[in-house]
Symmetry: C2
Subunit: 776 residues, 2 copies
């Protein structure tokens, strides 16, 4: 009954030089293959590591399948109405709790940014008021660099996974890819603080992407059922110790994050649906919507509280909510043509942005790999460039006389926010570039969107600002601080839209503020390729449903144009980071293959009542997470598939030491007396998973037998060996599996031929295996 | 080579007294079972028939699985870039075409209703202006009865499937249940005309549900790839001749229907997502949204055209768009309590509505069964009751002096629409009940929602109107005309909300018009149990996103309260009609069963190269739609599962007459020369499916052999016999299968043990099989 042969999921141990890090060479993997169509028996080593945040990190798959073993069935039978009620209540309580906490964090985030950035701008403008311009510039730059370096430092030393937007990581998690650090408490902490520092440092980056990641982290922490380490366990929470419930909660968290960032509850739900999750149920729709509604209500009541002036420099600027009153009810043909041109150009610039960003990120990846000091230096360097751009370009810009018809005090303004910035212009004049650069990004967007200000920014101002922002956005995203892409894209899109509005000039009847909004939509469509969610978020930001047709038109065109060139920016980052993301549609290379073609390595099976020593040596020898269990004599006349057993469950069973001297089944009552269902629950991010070496088994025990029946999943999903790979992939993805058994079609063969995991469906792996054939 | 044994999908032939019609006896099915845990071998006869619209009709399952046979593979290989481009372009063109046509139909629908109902009301009020009140009443009733009877007549004689809302049928279709008549052209025609007549007849019913069905019908017609019967075939359309693409298009159509009904594009998408479909992909999100946007744009431009007065009596009333200006920015605790009470009561009344509606529908079902004349009589009878209620109750209501502060001409009004109806009151006074009853339903809702009119309706008026509408809505829905539930529910909810607003009186700061809106939300939540879509539809109707928190709160409470008592109204109707709807979660009765337990009947298999006579006799003898194909000697050393073949494909193959005298495989080139992939495409609703008797095979041909390999789906989804039934159901539903093969776990058995179809997963069937055990 020693171990037999076949592959389960390959080891999650860190490799010396993980494949995924050497960017771009995935296509060349296994290029030395000689016998392309012969079945490959080497282990699948692709994609066991990925870049999470800015560091390389081992990854694991998540399991959304119900492990129907005896322990589960016993647990299910023992659940009464009270337990079901607990579960239902807790599901809702947790979702609403996630909503309120995310709302509070979103508010805290805003208030902190407004106060830090506001204080910085206030100091600067006070110096400028005294004509100490050089000092003002130096102070401004010093503030920025210090903030940027602190953000980079905590990010590099405490939680490298917190770098970047976080949306690609959350998206991958919801697709079933887990890296321990993605949703850890340290990541949450650094994400919040780092995002505040980063945004306050005047970088061209947003806090919206990090808010989504923050929401997901909060949901993951709440959903992991307390912490045994800190003695925080509560029996009501124990039903959530599984990947499925945690996934649902994290979906709610991501949606709440969008809501907290944009005050857009419907947009948040649609974002979760369109971009974040890979699986969706309509029951989840309602739970997600309730979460976002709670987040919104919390946010609103806090803002209400701040209206009375209790929140320092926090103004209306904190949460972007633009007032683009609809001055349009009907459009002329010229307007439509202008909008179409805007859509096409937005698509082109969006695709170009993705292309360039990919290049920049690959280069930054090499710098960031060298260690934390390099990350901090890079961040500080980009901060200096950004500061020089903001201040330098503004100082080169000429002063413009204020428009006559504005009420006194509205032009020029000086201080931390406002349109028509004075900068160092004489009284009665303003500096247009400074009105955009020396503001928080939110305020700059508000200035661009503002209607009835057609003459405020002239073409050259917009052109300079557009070029600067587009370039700065490209070089900023990759630095090791939490950084969102929404705001840079909206900012450059709005500038571009306004620019185009100016160029079309009086030929069309649309306001330039409206053009800025449409420009933002076209750039969002061109880079992110999200459609419905972007549309609804923009509608909720502007609170005007009458703009819908124009926004949709521009989004449709921008997305269609950009899709010709490359994929959406998040998909591109997911791929570049080496995360094994399962796509909806199988790759073309799968078309002519069947399931058995991609099975790798010898299949390693266990007997239903196995020698302890054999189990331990199998666990030590392989890194697989699932093993097929074979029922054979004396329990069955011929070998047959009993089910699938998970590594984590095996370890718990061995720890329970229910061994027998002879090869017999253990009685069920004894099993359920000793083993409680929640011993098998998944550990949270604070807990350390069991290892074989922790068990301390004696030599005597090694010679005894252990009955695997109670923990064997009796109903693993199976495919016949000649099942087409495309259809097997559909089954694997749609059901969210981690392991899938390949069983023989003909008799007289072993009862299981291999195990397919997520990595076996990765196009780069398959292309590597069958390179010569597929190139034909 | 002769047929072997096992069950495929049971026959779709009409049974003498179909089970599904004898309401309520499903629980008692197979009550005579003696050996509960022995495997049942009788054919599964449940759910082969269902009530579609108002008539009983045979139903079939749809197949969303890719039939990966040689013909498909050859077809796929032969598709070049041009074909893929054709497909992509057509997918979008069809979606946008569906949007524009549905938009146009929606507009036509409105204009017709407004004109017919307007003319009717104009005639009546002209008579009343001359004090000929009795004549007015008689004319009013006569108009109503004639319109109602015509609607019922076309519905009963031409397309019984057009009766009712249509949403349950569309929902079932998208779940994979097809009845030939659900989406037929005649149904479309009758749905449009019948809905116009029904709404114009003053019934308490809406045109919104029928609009959804209309949208689905239009999509189905456009998507069926032309019509061979009328010579309307176009090669670009041939890729859509399958269930999968048709389903996607119908989803778009349903969403466009909601958009055309409510002018709510985002609400339409969410409705399709939340209520209509059972499967969803994010790619579809965008296509659906584009469809609804096009529908909206068409609608808007038509309304713009009508503004100039070209559309007869069509006013702003046609498409409901309410102006509930937000006079609230913050709420007090009293307001929140009032809203909570409204939510609870809405939930209770909603659940009660569902319960009573179920009773009424069962009773009406028996009347409608008796034949078309009974249907027409019933409709006319309800129409008389409705007319008497409207006119009679109004005439009993006292006249109220007009409010002083209204501008002249706004009170009292006389004519086809408007607030403060004069009825037969003296000058300067109005009749409150007539302002609600003698209007179209849309106008009545607008009157209820109108803000700043707190004193217009007093408590007794609202109480009488509420009682009347609630009862009329219950007795109206089941009559054999196209009838939606949205409007009756909104109407009674709005009345109830306003009533409650009056009761709370000055204690709260919310406007009674706003209360009416919240009341509508609570009733919608209580009956339909839709949440996000209702919320967004209401937001889009009122164009005020600031109402979001209150609407969500009320919906959440109403749904939670109502869910304690029963299911949503559409789910309830689906169940009552006997449609085999696959739920997301398996029934509790499946928990302890495995796949083989529910396999019914002997499995009937075919050999991979089979005698023509055997195939024909199998086709004649059974009604199954899928047969496992067994590969045996000389093609395989031992019998093994080759795949699954569909009845429709077998018939096409036999028609091709590629027979051989000996038992050999046909060469691939010869097969592909004779058989074109599109010969196997699914026929549209106009085409008649092939029958065995159409083939006219000679006795000599019957003795020859036919090679089934080219049409055998080589990768059917399979489960092992001991797979838990719950997990098998998850696989079956999530992948949208029609047939699933049960294969043995142990060797030395036949290669396939049975076939599971949709009907084998129906709780009533399983409960019937294992009644005694499950009752324990």
């Amino acid at each position: 009954m020693a171990a037999r042969h076949a592959a389960a999921e390959p080891p999650p141990t860190p490799l010396a030089t993980p494949r995924a890090v050497r960017w771009g060479d995935l296509e060349d993997a296994a290029s030395g293959l000689e016998r392309p169509l012969l079945r490959q028996r080497g282990a699948n080593t692709t994609s066991q590591m990925a870049v999470v945040g800015a560091n390389v990190c081992p990854i694991e798959s998540l399991d959304y399948e119900i492990v129907e073993n005896d322990v589960y069935k016993q647990d299910w039978r023992s659940r009464g109405k009270i337990q079901v009620f607990h579960y239902q209540v807790m599901k809702w309580v947790l979702a609403l709790l996630v909503g309120s906490i995310v709302g509070l964090v979103g508010f805290f985030n805003n208030i902190a940014v407004e106060n830090i950035a506001g204080y910085k701008l206030l100091l600067t403008s006070n110096l400028m008021r005294q004509d100490r311009n050089l000092e003002a510039f130096l102070l401004y730059m010093a503030c920025n660099v210090v903030l940027a370096a602190s953000a980079a430092a905590i990010c590099a030393y405490f939680a490298p996974a917190a770098a970047g937007s976080g949306i690609p990581e959350v998206k991958s998690y919801l697709n079933g890819v887990d890296a321990h650090s993605i949703l850890a408490p340290s990541t949450l902490f650094v994400k919040i603080i780092g995002s505040i520092f980063g945004v306050s440092a005047g970088f061209v980056l947003g806090k919206e992407g990090p808010m989504v990641h923050t929401g997901a982290c909060i949901a993951a922490l709440l959903g992991q059922g307390g912490s045994r380490k800190y003695g925080l366990t509560w029996s009501w929470l124990r039903y959530f110790k599984n990947d499925l419930d945690r996934r649902d909660l994290i979906t709610c968290g991501a949606a709440a994050g969008v809501t907290a960032a944009f005050r857009a509850p419907v947009g948040g739900v649609l974002f979760a649906l369109e971009e974040a999750t890979s699986w969706w149920r309509s029951a989840l729709l309602w739970r997600t919507f309730s979460t976002t509604a709670v987040a919104l209500m919390v946010l609103k009541s806090m803002i209400e509280y701040c209206r009375s002036g209790n929140c320092g420099l926090f103004g209306e600027g904190g949460l972007i909510m633009f007032d683009v009153s609809s001055r349009v009810t009907s459009y002329t043909a010229v307007d439509i043509i202008a909008v179409i041109i805007l859509g096409v150009l937005g698509g082109l610039f969006g695709a170009l942005f993705n292309h360039l960003l990919d290049r920049v990120l690959r280069r930054y990846g090499r710098i960031n790999e060298k260690g934390a000091p390099y990350k901090i230096l890079l961040t500080a360097f980009i901060s200096i460039i950004t500061s020089c751009c903001s201040f330098g370009l503004s100082s080169l810009s000429p002063c413009i006389p204020c428009p006559r018809d504005l009420p006194a005090g509205r032009c020029p303004t000086i201080g931390r926010s406002g349109n028509f910035k004075k900068f160092w212009c004489p009284a009665g004049q303003y500096n247009a570039l400074a009105s955009l650069f020396l503001n928080t990004n939110d305020d700059a967007i508000r200035n661009l969107f503002s209607g009835g200000t057609d003459s405020e920014f002239n073409v050259s101002t917009l052109l300079v600002f557009y070029t600067a922002i587009y370039s700065l956005a490209l070089i900023t995203y990759g630095v090791a601080v939490p950084s969102g892409l929404f705001i840079p894209v909206i900012l450059s899109g709005a500038t571009f839209g306004r620019l185009l509005g100016k160029v079309f000039g009086s030929a069309n009847g649309l306001d330039t503020g409206l053009f800025a909004l449409l420009g933002a939509a076209s750039f969002l469509g061109g880079t992110m390729r999200m459609t419905v969610s972007v549309c609804v978020i923009l509608l909720e930001l502007t609170n005007d449903l009458l703009l819908l047709p124009l926004i949709m038109l521009v989004l449709l065109i921008a997305k269609t144009v950009a899709d010709i060139f490359n994929k959406g920016v998040y998909d591109q980052i997911v791929r570049m980071k080496g995360l094994p993301f399962l796509e909806v549609h199988g790759d073309a290379c799968m078309r002519s293959l069947v399931a058995i073609d991609v099975v790798s390595g010898p299949v390693i099976t266990l007997s239903s009542v196995e020698r302890v020593g054999a189990v331990v040596s199998t666990l030590r020898r392989t890194g697989h997470n699932g093993f097929p269990v074979i029922e054979d004599e004396p329990f069955a006349p011929a070998p047959e598939l009993c089910g699938l057993v998970l590594r984590s469950h095996l370890l718990v069973l061995l720890q329970g030491r229910m061994f027998t001297r002879t090869r017999v089944k253990t009685s069920a009552t004894e099993v359920f007396r000793k083993l409680k269902p929640f011993d098998f629950a998944k550990v949270g991010s604070a807990g350390k998973p069991l290892e074989v070496d922790d068990l301390g088994l004696t030599d005597e025990e090694m010679e005894m037998y252990v009955d695997l029946h109670p923990i064997t999943n009796r109903s693993p999903y199976t495919v016949l060996e000649n099942m087409s790979l495309v259809k097997a992939a559909v089954l694997f993805r749609d059901l969210g599996l981690r392991h899938m058994c390949v069983v023989p079609r003909t008799t007289g063969r072993p009862p299981v031929l291999g195990i397919l995991t997520r990595h076996d469906f990765m196009p780069q792996y398959i292309r590597g295996l069958f390179q010569n054939v597929l190139r034909e």
